[in-house]
Amino acid sequence: MLALLSAGAHSEESPLRGGTIAYAVTNLRWATYLKPEMRVDCPQGVNDGPREQFKSLYPDDGTVRELADTQLQREVDSWYPTTAPDRFPFREAGGVVAIGMNLDGKVGPNDFTSPEGVPGVDNQLYRALGCINSYRDAHGTNDELNSYEVVKESYNRWLIEITGVENLTNSPHVEVNVYRGLDPLHTDATGKGILPGGTQRIDSRWGARFIQHYRGRIVDGVLETEPADLAFPWSVFEVVADEYIHGARFRLKLTPTAAEGLIGGYADIETWYLQLMRSQSTHDQSYGQLSSISLYKALRRLADGYPDPRTGANTAISSALRAQFTQVYILPASKAALPATASLPHYSPYAGPPFPRSASDELQGHEKDPASSSSGNGQVALKP
């Protein structure tokens, strides 16, 4: 393998051609770190979901209830979420260990320590998701489903192309281009094992919004990029939905056949929530005891970056994605057809539902929700 990495970097057998190598995403999950015993990171257990909350609000006590006051009202609360106090306790992930990156360069009181012992990890999204079954490895319906869809749907076929690579061990200056691919992934006979060496055409038409550019370097076999915003497709159940991460950065261990590691940054909360709501009905959320109504309040409460210049409230939450990529070849002809960078359409994060969110329901500045059980304090507001 070492021979392939070094001498092979310029050989015909190497996927590194002319200083360029490309990969397609094959697994994507929001980074959570779970101890073997649930009580360690969720000492009060996991959160209730839509079924449990509905039953609590409207117990089966013989009362004749109106659908408009119950079922429809819960849908309203989901589609037009607010930061008003939650009627249910929200259990955040505790503990001090989490997967992620130090996004702000500081070690703050809310930060985690990585499993390798590095302090300063910013991953408040884990604090919000960690005690929701839907995102827990052993039970995580969302975790599994979202990752499955990454492979299944060509809409989600995002590619990274690294150019300027001297070798896959060390390259002081590389460029990283993000595209969407158009083609199915190359699989083994089971149809599940993704094989390296497949080809991809770049989607320069529908995927023009996803064409993005980063600068970085490879150090000891790890690609690290400088922070820049990242929009990427993440459709579930055939709904056209995407994600937007402010100040995203890649940290991926590279091999000739795969790239694996983290993508860190501040997830845009409204875009994140919209992707969830449009892709997964309340029914789907119920599988993993995910109450979107409660989760939204937690996301806003734990938000720690990109304050709204008007209100001062943070609009993004520190996060990390565990990502796996498999090596692919990008067909040169499709690259030649790329539109000029200047003509690419701009991708804007979703601004939130225009109505009927009430201004009085919104957090003012960094005021904490008095009804929350948040352990978060001293949240750091970053300038975008």
Binding site: G49, P50, R51, F54, D60, V64, R65, E66, L67, A68, T70, Q71, L72, Q73, R74, E75, V76, W79, Y80, E153, S154, Y155, L182, D183, P184, R205, W206, G207, R209, F210, P233, S235, F237, E238, V239, V240, A241, D242, L274, M277, R278, S279, Q280, S281, T282, H283, S286, P345, H346, S348, Y350, A351, G352, P353, P354, F355, P356
Partner: protein, 451 residues
């Protein structure tokens, strides 16, 4: 109108012109079947040939459907749609329990009022697949393929198919009614798919079928290299010409299907069922048995990250609203004349005024020209969301598709944004808004129309 929108309007013209290819000028042929004397076949704009009663009312079936928490619909030979009004939800769609009182009960119709049974006269006799069943009240009802038949209360004119929205998504949709009709006159191995653009000819696996301008009538000029990308649709040795389908000899002993004289192909790079990708190649076209009416001139077409949507004149994506209640009879609730409690909940949190801002109607200009029966101008009372009377002060003149208003979404800011798509219950399949898709390059949705 800036250059961007002028370009969009031009593209709509180009798309519609492309659809008006010679192969799609005719209406869809069907295979005649034995029918009772009081039954007719009507050509419809969007759904192809359908059965109607003697007055031209489309006939519908309600097939049994496995829902999330149970089954509803008609069993073979039995009607479950009767005169008793359903007052509570059935809980067929989790996570909400059944037994909740449905909204606006005072105006909630019975199933049989919304879907009047197609009554068979005393002298009615079975013929072919047509049989007569006995309803629970003792009356006799026609059935086709053993499924009882109904009309729909909103269908007024021959060719109306307002009760079955072929544009409706189906993954978690209600147990919907479907128009009954004779089979399309296509050879084995072919099928016809209802799209927002027309009735698309596909293979039995759902893959789109194409023809080439480069072929002469009855002769293929696609050589071996061409055939690697454009896969000739070969006929089996026992294949025989029928209707508008003929056979051409591609090479000795090898026959290729042709439709209206044009050799037929699949596109190797389509990547999924009922795609329109191949038509991006100059000289190649999808095959439609009939075209949908072109959208009114006030609309544009916009590229999204997944394909093309219909948009208003300012480039904002058009949305359709879908609603079916969760009573055991799964009644429609997406027409403005029906309860608006569901729609007002998801578009305005219960406030009709907010709905007008969140999902505003698409206002028709004073010069608006309806297109076919599918695109019309409707008067709406903005205060209630209900149909308005002619001359009613403050009434809005809005565009409607299949007799339901269409909307834009205030959360869309740039052309091609589809942030309102799937806004509502069950990804908007039961109560919510779906973008009006004209072309979908990524998903093999069951019905890639507006939804």
């Amino acid at each position: 109108m800036d250059l961007r929108w002028r370009r969009s309007a031009l593209r709509l013209t180009v798309i519609v012109s492309a659809l008006l290819a010679p192969l799609a000028m005719a209406s869809e042929a069907y295979r005649p079947v034995p029918m009772p004397p009081e039954v007719r076949v009507a050509a419809t704009e969007l759904d192809g040939p359908v059965f109607t009663d003697s007055k031209g009312h489309t006939l519908y079936q309600w097939p049994l459907l496995q829902m999330r928490n149970g089954v509803t619909g008609d069993h073979l030979g039995t009607s479950e749609c009767n005169e008793a009004r359903t007052d509570v939800s059935a809980g067929l769609m989790s996570p909400y329990p059944g037994g909740l009182r449905l909204p606006d009960l005072s105006e909630h119709p019975s199933c049989a009022k919304m879907w009047p049974p197609f009554i068979a006269g005393a002298a009615a006799k079975p013929v072919g697949k047509w049989t007569v069943i006995t309803r629970k009240d003792g009356s006799r009802q026609w059935a086709y393929d053993d499924l009882p038949l109904y009309t729909f209360y909103l269908d007024k004119h021959a060719g109306d198919v307002l009760g079955a929205r072929s544009d409706r998504p189906t993954l978690d949709a209600p147990a919907v009614r479907r128009p009954a009709g004779p089979p399309p006159d296509v050879p084995p191995g072919f099928a016809v798919k209802t799209m927002s653009t027309g009735r698309l000819l596909v293979t039995e696996q759902g893959m789109s079928v194409y023809y080439s301008d480069g072929d002469a009538h009855g002769k293929s000029s696609c050589d071996a290299t061409c055939a690697e990308t454009w896969i000739p649709l070969l006929a089996p040795n026992l294949g025989r010409a029928r209707g508008e389908f003929t056979l051409i000899e591609r090479s000795p002993g090898v026959n290729q299907w042709a439709f209206r004289g044009r050799p037929l192909y699949r596109y190797a790079l389509d990547g999924g069922s009922h795609r329109l990708k191949g038509s991006d190649t100059s000289g190649w076209h999808n095959v439609y048995t009939q075209l949908a009416p072109r959208p009114p001139a006030e609309f544009t077409v916009q590229d999204t990250t997944a394909g093309q949507v219909l948009a208003d004149s300012s480039g904002k994506t058009i949305y359709s609203y879908f609603c079916g209640d969760d009573g055991v009879d799964q009644l429609e609730c997406d027409h403005p004349g029906e309860t608006d409690a569901y729609r007002i909940a998801v578009c305005g949190g219960g406030d009709a005024a907010r709905c007008l801002k969140t999902f505003p109607y698409v206002i028709a200009s004073a010069k608006a020209v309806p297109s076919g029966r599918s695109w019309s101008v409707m008067l709406i009372d903005p205060a209630s969301g209900r149909p308005a009377l002619a001359g009613q002060p403050g009434a809005l003149r809005v565009w409607a598709y299949r007799d339901r208003p269409v909307y834009t979404y205030a959360g869309d800011h740039s052309p091609g944004d589809v942030n309102g798509d799937s806004h509502g219950e069950f990804r908007a399949e039961r109560n919510g808004y779906k973008a009006f898709w004209l072309r979908d390059d990524f998903f093999s949705r069951d019905q890639p129309g507006p939804g």
